[in-house]
Symmetry: C2
Subunit: 153 residues, 2 copies
Amino acid sequence: MRYWEDFNAGEVSTFGAYHVSEAEIIEFAEAYDPLPFHTDPEAAKTSPYGRLTAPGLLTCAIFMRMLVDHVLADAASMGSPGVDSVRWPRPVLAGDTLSVRQQILSTRVLASRPEMGLVVNRFEVLNQHGELVCEIASNGLFARRDAAGEARP
Amino acid sequence: MRYWEDFNAGEVSTFGAYHVSEAEIIEFAEAYDPLPFHTDPEAAKTSPYGRLTAPGLLTCAIFMRMLVDHVLADAASMGSPGVDSVRWPRPVLAGDTLSVRQQILSTRVLASRPEMGLVVNRFEVLNQHGELVCEIASNGLFARRDAAGEARP
């Protein structure tokens, strides 16, 4: 089990290998982003990329799944205060395989809730060519190992 | 069909009425955010909210669906450069009904691509009690009606 103390500024890790199928793109898009260039392979042929592209939120959801499987499932996660930025510099296409690169930029104890600490991240979602398809600035809250929450310098 | 010219700074609109079922929370969470307080009603009883809460990304996906149905499906949407901020101040619970309040903060033609314009938004997702459950700062790109793209003052 990883606590806040186990996340250190400067750490870089990569994880995940998520295959994105055309079926998953269409199913997600029909539910949550039903625009033709996400749902209809024929219509997508006339789009700028010439084929189906994944909804940006599907890329975020796949990122989340990899984060849960490789980090959060074995951590004392207390959720997230939010997301500070999301960019999608390149499209995700059917057949792509995505992975995550996590950089921990800084960590600190919450002044208002010293029993937990913040981990400030920059996440990159990369395709099988190592190209950046999504960049996410999002912070995580984790319980401190010392749940008594003594002040730290 | 709404073009960039049809979005005006200062406009406020509300739309959507999306019922969030326990089944949808569990299905989405099992696919993309499989933590027990999203997937297991029994385990959720011991969580801070005492019941299942929707993954934050499901709330974003439901927001996107309402945005597509009520705005983008009949607009000359050219995508989005990204999301600048997402906050989830309150949980979304099974049985909630969500709606969207859109405020257009400003609009401008893109200097680099004068055939399209940017619409700067603040979106609020509200539950059936009018409580804010998600706040999203995200901008949209739309084609200009005058596709020739003359410079505007």
